[in-house]
């Protein structure tokens, strides 16, 4: 038995919003792979929960009217990886979430939970930052959308109002079109491991593949929340893909990131692998886009 005070179940977004208003103390549970573990450990003991797991309308991936990739917040990791639209337009996201925990965790864990927990090591977060994803929240007054970088306030805290739930994550067409990305997770073992550092890079090349028109890079665990690297991106934007560029790009990352010492790894080690991961992820992204590192 879980040490739970009460459970309220929502079967629609409207019901969830109404329950949020009626029970301001209650916490949301989606797949529960963070919430139930923390309840078991005592960190969330004795709390009231609002379960949104039964809201099937929040599952699945589609293209909306503006051709943004729309990922319902309750879509599980395994369903994201297997989804044909994700594979076609943002394969790197499917690959990134395929590195979460274990197959069973990927069947229960949702992308909504992975972003609403505000955790820097979340395996979806760096790719969503690198694709400038839009977070959709629904509350009493309707729908609110904000860029993912503004959604994260600080470690463990995101911008969700007391009456809101997250209903979708969108990747605008301008962000996925003609864009290819690669994610690298550095962990001490392959499965059941939280990232020591996560790095996601994507590029759009010119038609002749000789110029990087747009490069974006984001890290998890390089700071308290997932972060982009403006200096590194500036070094790559408009440049010709080459090994020398990859070196310059990767070294510039050091100016942007701010990792810390933890039991998992030292700051110096994280900085060291951040450079190597940037180089490898850029190289792979350029290859996926059909280019060559001259």
């Amino acid at each position: 038995m879980y040490d739970m005070k009460a459970l309220y179940e929502a079967s629609s977004v409207e019901e969830a919003v109404a329950l949020r208003v009626a029970h301001p103390e209650a916490q949301i549970i989606a797949g529960g792979s963070d919430v139930l573990v923390q309840m078991r450990e005592g960190r969330r003991a004795g709390k009231e929960l609002i379960s949104i797991y039964g809201i099937d309308a929040l599952r699945g991936v589609s293209l909306d009217a503006e051709e943004a990739l729309r990922i319902g917040s309750l879509t599980s990791f395994s369903h994201i990886t297997r989804d044909p639209l994700i594979q076609k337009y943002c394969n790197v996201l499917g690959e990134a979430v395929d590195q979460v925990g274990s197959p069973q965790i990927r069947n229960i864990g949702t992308i909504g939970g992975n972003t609403c927990n505000g955790v820097t090591s979340a395996d979806s977060a760096s790719t969503l930052h690198a694709y400038e994803a839009i977070v959709e929240l629904t509350g009493q007054n309707g729908v609110r959308r904000l860029p993912i970088k503004d959604f994260y306030i600080k470690a463990g805290q995101v911008d969700i109002k007391p009456d809101e739930i997250q209903t979708a994550i969108l990747i605008p067409k301008a962000s996925w079109e003609n864009t290819f990305g690669h994610y690298i997770k550095y962990g001490l073992r392959n499965a059941m491991e939280i990232a020591t550092l996560g790095c996601s890079v994507n590029v759009r090349l010119s038609a002749d593949k000789r110029t990087i028109e747009r490069c974006r890079i984001a890290y998890g665990v390089a700071g308290p929340v997932p972060m982009r690297c403006p200096s590194a991106e500036a070094a790559a934007n408009g440049a010709a893909p080459s090994k020398a560029l990859a070196e310059r790009f990767a070294r510039a990352v050091i100016d942007d990131i701010n990792p810390r010492d933890s039991w998992r790894a030292s700051k110096a080690f994280r900085q060291h692998i951040a450079v190597e991961m940037a180089k490898r992820a850029l190289t792979r992204a350029v290859e996926l886009a059909g280019g060559e590192m001259a």
């Binding site: 879980y2 573990v37 274990s102 197959p103 069973q104 069947n107 059941m192």
Partner: protein, 165 residues
Amino acid sequence: MSAQYKLVHCTINGKEVEKMVDVRASLTDMLRNDYHLTSVKKGCEVGECGACNVLINGEAFNSCIYLAVWAEGKDIRTLEGLLSPDGELSDIQKAFVEETAIQCGFCTPGFIMTAVEILETGKLYTDEELRKLLSGHLCRCTGYENIFRAVKKTMYRRHGKAIDF
């Protein structure tokens, strides 16, 4: 506060059932205590070891971090459901015996249910893919190699293919 109960109706191993369930119960609690399906083990109870793994609508879930009330309307399968009506073991269970993939047996039901999910995809996986698909289970006895062989052997048999380990 007083206990809160809910009527949960679902299919377990092919049989439609319903029971009043405490909303604080995990699916492990429900399957073990209300339905006496003791193949569902309590290991870590925090989603790490896979001992409590069952199939829900064909996908593998750690039932220790799954609320019992979420079982409403679902199709749930546990190891008990693999036995044929005359008590005969299924091919994957036999392979575990043949390959000595079982020592204490605590991890076995969970591993086998993941194997069932893998086998039912009908795909022929590479060794690397298979290792990844089995990575959600801890075994403190066998060293995993025999478990891997049992699953691989069954996968090859179902494809009518000869196996070379």
